[in-house]
């Protein structure tokens, strides 16, 4: 019997059970459904990975270690495992438990903040046997109502399986921006399912009844609702995984425009019906400013191809289209301003890693991060010199001196701080010299703030340490 007819009959059987009640003649066919689910599970089960990363996080001005759990799925015989970026970002090391309980360490191959995806690679010399990668299906023909299973380690409970249906295939969430300026969900809509997804399921596969992976489980709304899980479509995941394996990162283009769908301001321009996307915001100094693009303009074509974003669900595709353009490429835009059709050619720029590098200044009790483009924009900075204070430890010298989270350190000891690297070198020198008074000048909102750090150092065998 072919696979699809089995699925078909199983579904009919289930429908009968629902409609006629358990006494109905569906006993045999529900067994078939059972058989289908089991067959699908058996296909993907050997590819399931329980991930236990040890994270290094910067909190309240200190670097801390934290053990978490997540899920992943083996996608190749070489040991590549697909998971969520948020599972392994900040990971110092990653320990994976495979379906047969073997523990194997893994290296991070590449991470992509924007899609919340990452690829890690199992250290195969620690592993005995043969890997069974999952079959990656397609997410382009999914339909609401289709049966799916979520596999993974909800709340750390490894090798768990839940069953449900696809609730919708293209759930849109506005880009969510985190404190460090990174945003996820820009380039995809989400597969919503009622198969139970909980924290820890992250990175695990969403599988159809044919045992093919159709999504990577990434989000749940455990507080306000139940049975609301969200997965990244596998088509996007496949593409990102391939780029991470090839280059260790995903290079994207950027033109400096935030988009809205046309319905947000209908009748603003006289563009051909239904065509175009609305420019909501333009970043100063970005490629888009070169052609004078303004909020309110409606872009109707890119390189002659029509732009369609009447509804917000269409926005991720447009953003991805632009992001996938080669960096430094000329792009011709046609856009309407009121009733006038204008055009211009701009050159794409590379979108920068939004996260930057973080550093703990242990001797003085605070943490800093490099000034990324995103940070500069969010803080309305001119230029990118300085470092951003991301946390101040309670009762530390920095705290006593009045340094605060969100301060941008621009000068230290009357000298400019151009970047994180120079800042680190200078801090090390001052600490080694046992300097007891350090003047830190930062920008706090729209004003300057002067903090005088007065650390007391205690000498230990390991060198200079902060007070215990």
């Amino acid at each position: 019997m072919s696979r699809s007819s089995t699925v078909h009959r199983a579904l009919i059987a289930l429908l009968f059970v629902v409609l006629l009640g358990p006494q109905a003649l569906a006993t045999v066919t529900s067994q078939e459904l059972q058989a289908t689910v089991l067959a699908a599970k058996r296909k993907v089960y050997p590819a399931l990975v329980h991930i236990q990363p040890v994270l290094e996080v910067y909190r309240s001005g200190e670097r801390e270690r934290m053990a978490v759990t997540g899920s992943g799925v083996i996608i190749s015989k070489e040991g590549y495992v697909l998971t969520n970026n948020h599972v392994v970002e900040h990971a110092e090391r990653v320990i994976c438990t495979l379906h047969d309980q073997q523990e194997v360490t893994a290296e991070i191959v590449g991470r992509d903040v924007f899609t919340d995806l990452a690829v890690i690679r199992l250290n195969l010399d620690e592993f005995e046997g043969e890997l069974h990668p999952a079959i990656l299906g397609s997410s382009s023909h999914l339909e609401a109502g289709q049966f799916v299973m979520a596999l993974g380690s909800p709340l750390g409970l490894s090798r768990s399986l839940s069953l449900g249906v696809i609730s919708t295939v293209d759930r849109y969430f506005p880009e969510s921006q985190s404190a460090d300026g990174s945003s996820t969900g820009s380039f995809n809509t989400w597969i919503q399912t009622d198969a139970a997804i909980n924290p820890g399921n992250s990175g695990g596969p969403l599988v159809n009844l044919a045992g093919e992976v159709v999504g990577i489980n990434a989000r749940a709304i455990p507080v306000f609702g139940e049975n609301l899980g969200f997965a990244i479509p596998i088509d996007l995941a496949k593409e990102v995984a391939a780029r991470l394996i090839a280059d260790g990162k995903v290079v994207r283009s950027w033109i400096g425009v935030s988009w809205q769908h046309l319905e947000a301001a209908p009748g603003l321009v006289q563009a051909p019906k239904g065509q175009g996307a609305l420019v909501a915001s333009v970043v100063d100094g970005s490629p888009a400013t070169e052609i004078g693009l303004q909020p309110g303009d409606v872009v109707v074509s890119l390189d002659g191809k029509p732009v369609l974003a009447k509804h917000e669900e269409q926005l991720p595709r447009l953003r991805k289209w632009i992001a996938d353009l080669p960096v430094d490429r000329e792009v011709r835009l046609e856009f309407y301003r009121e009733s006038q059709l204008l055009e211009g050619t701009l050159v794409t720029e590379q979108r920068e890693d939004p996260q930057g590098t973080e550093l703990e200044i242990k001797a003085w009790g605070f943490t800093v991060r490099s000034i990324t483009e995103e940070v500069a924009r969010l803080f309305r900075l001119e230029g990118r010199s300085g470092v951003l204070v991301t946390g101040v430890k309670p009762n530390s010298f920095a705290n006593e001196a009045g340094l605060r989270r969100g301060d941008i350190i621009r000068r230290m000891e009357e000298q400019e701080v151009p970047n994180l690297r120079v800042f680190e070198q200078r801090v090390n020198r001052l600490v080694e010299a046992g300097k007891g008074q350090i003047l830190v000048e930062s920008r706090r909102g729209n004003r300057l703030n002067f903090s005088l750090l007065q650390p007391v150092y205690t000498r230990t065998s390991a060198g200079v340490e902060d007070r215990s």
Binding site: P266, L268, G296
Partner: protein, 484 residues
Amino acid sequence: MSAWNWLRSRGTHTLLALAAVAGMAAADARAARLDMEELMTSLHGSVVPVRITLRPIEPPPGGEGQKVEEVFCGVVLTDDGLVVVSGDAFPDPGGDPRTTLEPVSFDVLAANETEYSLTAEGLNRDLNLAYLRFSDGLPEGYGPVQIRDHVAPEIGDEILVVGLMPERYDYARTFWPGRISARLVSPRTMYAVTTFIQDLSIGGLALDARGKPLGLVAEDVLPPGQRLGRNTANPLTLLGSLSQGPRVGYPMIFPFDLLAEDIASPPPLEREPKKAWFGITMQPLNRELGDYWNIDNPGGIIISAVLDGSPAQGAGLHPRDILLRLGESPVTAREFTDLATFRKRVEKLTIGEQVELLVWREGQELTLQLHPGVAPRTGFLAREFEDEMFGLTVRELTVDVLQARNLPSSTGGVLISEMETAGWAQVAGLRVQDIILRVNGTPITDLDVFGKFMEQLREDQSGEVYFFVQRNVETRFVKVRTDW
């Protein structure tokens, strides 16, 4: 024109109300028997509970911030609806806008959950009195008190203080008998009383033994930092804590003479005494920093920002400069609280009259000449426009808001300060703190333009209106569906 004459010119309604008030003094004055029942009934529409709603001047991003409601006792002064209440809900300027609450709406609470909206008209900081006006005229059942000039009660005279009972008792009008205990001439003519005074009698009415109004129950607020003496009769920590730190004062009777000028023409909120202004933000120079820089001065103030186009910029003052002297006298601020003292000093300077500043800049002392300007309006005094159909209130952009958000001083637009729950604006996804830059493509440069445009929309009854707003660092369009 005296208050009395002014009042007489106001027509029959007032006169009838006055007749009622006067009538409560029973015919037989020698017996001095007052019909208290009738007196209290007649004052029901004159001594009123006023609910004041306060919010932080600068709410946290994305929210409106904590909302506080307080009820004050108010007295209706005129038949065109002028009401006086304590000025405690109005914050002193210069506080931290994130933690300072300011009043955003005023309502007289009537029976059966009826409310009458009031509009803020003026504030007399010296007397700590605020003037409000019924937005839609004086409702039925309300009338002004009789305002008598030149009353001169004597020490020992019996009086009645009329105020309100708390919410639990539906703000029932109540009175407390007492006596005039002292006549004071400084800082103004007023009377101390031996009467139980509670929060809801501040702002109430003082009557003489015949039931004739003597004046307003108010408080003589002490300057910041001063404390009430020990064993003070009737010490009050006033509701000033609502806005910023507690204000303290002694309860007093203010004769109406003190209010006469305000009643004739309430001091507009904007018509604060014009204050001098430099256009700087400051950080105190504490001892450690002073020592670090080897500054040989008893203290100083670090200039942490200089506003665009401000007098300080004109004088050549820079951020990082340390101010050592203003005119002849040294400047010292060791703590942030000391900055208020300096601010007060600046406010009292003569606008436009050159002052000399001694400034420390990178190890050198230099002298700068500064011409103080007029302090611009701050958010708390900003004019507002409420559009009831859209369910939103906007406020003009003031220098303090622009500065707090790090926006250029040239930024146009109006700031959404309040939104009605489930109103058109809120349903559409507009947010408090959004800056409206355009509506339907028309640039909104200021409050007047916005007001006119909204009027036009009402006439046109447009089905969909789109707002172009600045939200944090980005701009976006928001489509508002209307339902005229």
